[in-house]
Amino acid sequence: MARRLANSKTKSQAGLDYVISSLNLLTPFGEKAKKEMEPYFPGQEEDLRQELDRIFLLKEAILNHRDYWSLVEGAFMEMKDCTFSITRAGKDVLTVVELFELKNLLLAMEKLFRHLEMFRETFQQPLPETFHLESVKGLLKELDPRDEGIQTFYLYDEFSSELKALRQDRRLLEKEIRLERKAISQKLKEEKGVTLTPKFECVVSKSDAALVGKMEQIPQLCRWEEDYMSVTFGLKDTEKVDGLLLRMNRLQESIEEEEWKVREGLSQKVAAYEKLLLENGKRIGILDRTYAKAQLALNRQLVKPEILEEHRIELKEGRHLEVESLLERKGKEYCPVSFLLEPGVTCITGANMGGKTVSLKLAGLVALMTQYGFFVPASQAKVGLSSYIQMLIGDSQSLERGLSSFGGEMEELREALDHSQEKTLLLIDEIASGTNPKEGTALSKGLVSYLMARPYICLITTHFDSVADLPEVVNLQVIGLAQADFERLRRELRYANRKERIQLVSKYMDYRLRVVKGSGDVPKEAIQIAEILGLYPEIIQSAKDYL
């Protein structure tokens, strides 16, 4: 079984799923490559660096030669996955539709091949080995005997001289039969005054018994069809026509046989190219995927992370992409966050609504994106690879398994600790907040002491002061409302409605993190925020008194 870097819940909560789904892949091979995407683990740093270099190269290439890459995109979009037909060609005979689709794939592959050649020559820039395609000209020639380079396909006469001759014969025979019948029809008209339709039929009403009788007397005619109102007479085939028809049937058989032979021959030629075609497909997939990653990096201002040998995550002005796009839609800006995570325990403390959980997710997202070979949303990033990443977040309540939210949380924590190993990244949101503060604090402290003794990077958000106070715990505090202009805030609040109050909190909130040394207080901003959001003054006052 393949190693697992993170479970699917972690990947989705951190926002990796969102990132992967925003990759814009243009070929079915790219879609496949996306599904087969595997993370890089510690020990594979060099491979990862190469992947990131490839993205960098394409990113620069797109920036400098946009027109050229739109040609490449054109070739991408003509690709259709014919893997099934290609693998089938060795054992079976392909249908005409399959050969048509293959021809189109080959045309697109050849086009892409030429574009990539051109890139090398025109821009004097080597492309990474991984993207090298083989030319499929040889096979294309087989499927395009007229060398027209257009997409149409048919079992053309040029495929086999035998086929050509047979088809010629059939056309001549068809004509001969028609002429023969026409001659008889003409004779009937002249001699008996009977006119037949172009299909050599004649409908006679039964009420005209004399005519019916007369028609029946004509030896060249026979009854074809009859209802109670009328009789349809048709031309009786002469011995000569019968003979021609028999020949026609045999000819048809030979044509079908010959067509089968042509298809068989073509299938074998396709089969001979099987390995090359499948390899080309794979490489196109990787090129397409890398191209999509480079496009994403350009569109979302991502940077190449520096890959470290030691386990450490250093982020300058990081942005959580999914949250950023949500804010963008509302016309707001994301407040970037910087932090350094090293083995040991780091706590994020600070105001409610201060973006603690988003910062936690950001740490997970950057780690995951790096290890899946993406550029990352920050102005600068240095990342040491983790061997296991787990995020504990939100409501783990499970009615099915009879667990309360606290129970669910504890179970998930146990699972996370079971899986943890060297170079683990653990991201824990508000552990034990669902129980009484006394035991909650005790549990959290116990967990932190346990984690301190392990070689993991742990990031924990908490409200419990004394947890962050433990020696050797790094305390990252949300700057929060500390530096806000309260006078102005109060003035603006006077006229704000419910929705605007929430917006005011985010307007005055400083989401950035700062390292607090020693036993810095966990800021007490909960009451303040409750007040901003419009909780009754008497409750606020009373709460302040209790404090």
Partner: protein, 341 residues
């Protein structure tokens, strides 16, 4: 000059529409394909649904394939390609899907029988026809889907050939009457009052609209209540002395008209999207017309010819000449063909 040649001067796409199942639609199509070949018209052939299958899926009666000649453009679903007896050069695999695989756009390079199918939506249909025309087709024949007259919405083709026949009724008089009725309503006059037209277009054409003649021109009122068959009871209340037009986006049935006070009918004109919105059979229609019913349409259907099939698949038949003669009597201005001849 043959009939088809004449048609193709003014119409680029011609649908063949059946009055009922087995009214000889496919026979008519074959008849015109033959004629196109004789006249040397470059042809495109498609259908508004799967058609040309060897047996009719609904009634199980015989339905032969269509014989196509070299050079004809045709749309064939992927799964029927191998079954075609004609030699078909694949020009393009289209993005139009059918239940039997995506459609292939082909050119016949070796004459023979082909089973035809076409795109399922009107929009895709239009695109396919345009593509065939750009590939050199001078005329496109469309085998209209199954039998429903209602599918022959005007936007699918420039002109229509109506296939009718014994299958409609054992009573020949009724066959002629019903056919003449359909031809009549297909050719209903088009609304030409520009002010009224622009008011209807402004509303998007999906709401009931009252157009009142007031000082200074026509004003429109929308009807806020429910639309549909049940809404007609309220229509009467909304009508006033000034109302000149009433635009109905939905169906026009006898029920709708019955709910309107007969006195108000005289000054009123109904406006419909197209004639397929009328669901009134010929007798009632005539009676309503006598009482003063007037209907305009935004777009009418151009009937080019009527083809008759004197035999019904259930075994009875009419005298060919008699049917032709009485049909010609009822529709003196249209070419009437007996496709069995």
């Amino acid at each position: 000059m043959g009939l088809l040649c004449e048609f193709s001067q003014l119409n680029k796409t011609i649908s063949i529409v059946g009055m009922a199942k087995n009214s000889g639609k496919t026979t008519t199509l074959k008849y015109f394909i033959e004629e196109a070949m004789d006249e040397n018209i470059a042809l495109g052939v498609t259908s508004t649904g799967r058609d040309g299958e060897s047996t009719d899926l609904v009634t199980g009666t015989d339905k032969p394939k269509v014989y196509l000649y070299e050079g004809t453009l045709v749309s064939v679903p992927t799964k029927l390609y191998e079954l075609a007896e004609a030699g078909l050069e694949i020009l393009r695999m289209t993005e139009y899907r059918t239940s039997i695989g995506p459609l292939l756009l082909c050119r016949v390079v070796d004459s023979g029988y082909v089973q035809i199918a076409g795109p399922l939506t009107t929009k895709e249909h239009k695109l396919l026809c345009d593509e065939m025309l750009s590939l050199g087709a001078e005329l496109i024949l469309i085998d209209g889907a199954i039998d429903r007259k209602s599918i022959a919405a005007p936007s699918t083709s420039d002109g229509v050939i109506l296939a009718t026949g014994a299958v409609l009724s054992r009573n020949m008089k009724r066959v002629v009457e019903e056919t003449a009725h359909v031809v009549g309503i297909y050719g209903l006059p088009v609304l030409e009052n520009e002010k009224a037209l622009s008011l209807i277009h402004e509303q998007g054409g999906n709401q009931i609209l009252f157009l009142d003649q007031e000082e200074g021109g026509i004003r429109s009122r929308t009807y806020e209540g429910k639309t549909g068959l049940r809404a007609s009871r309220f229509l009467d209340e909304e009508l006033n002395d000034c109302t000149r037009f009433i635009y109905l986006p939905g169906a026009l049935t006898s029920g709708v008209i019955e709910d309107i006070h007969p006195g108000k009918l005289k000054n009123l004109t109904f406006v419909l999207k197209d004639p397929t919105k009328i669901f009134i059979e010929s007798h009632s229609w005539q009676q309503w017309c006598k009482k003063g019913l007037r209907v305009f349409v935004i777009e009418n259907i151009h009937v080019l010819a009527v083809s008759v099939n004197p035999t019904a698949p259930t075994g009875y038949a009419f005298e060919h000449e008699e049917l032709l003669a009485s049909m010609r009597g009822a529709l003196p201005n249209l070419p009437i063909l007996d496709v069995k001849r």
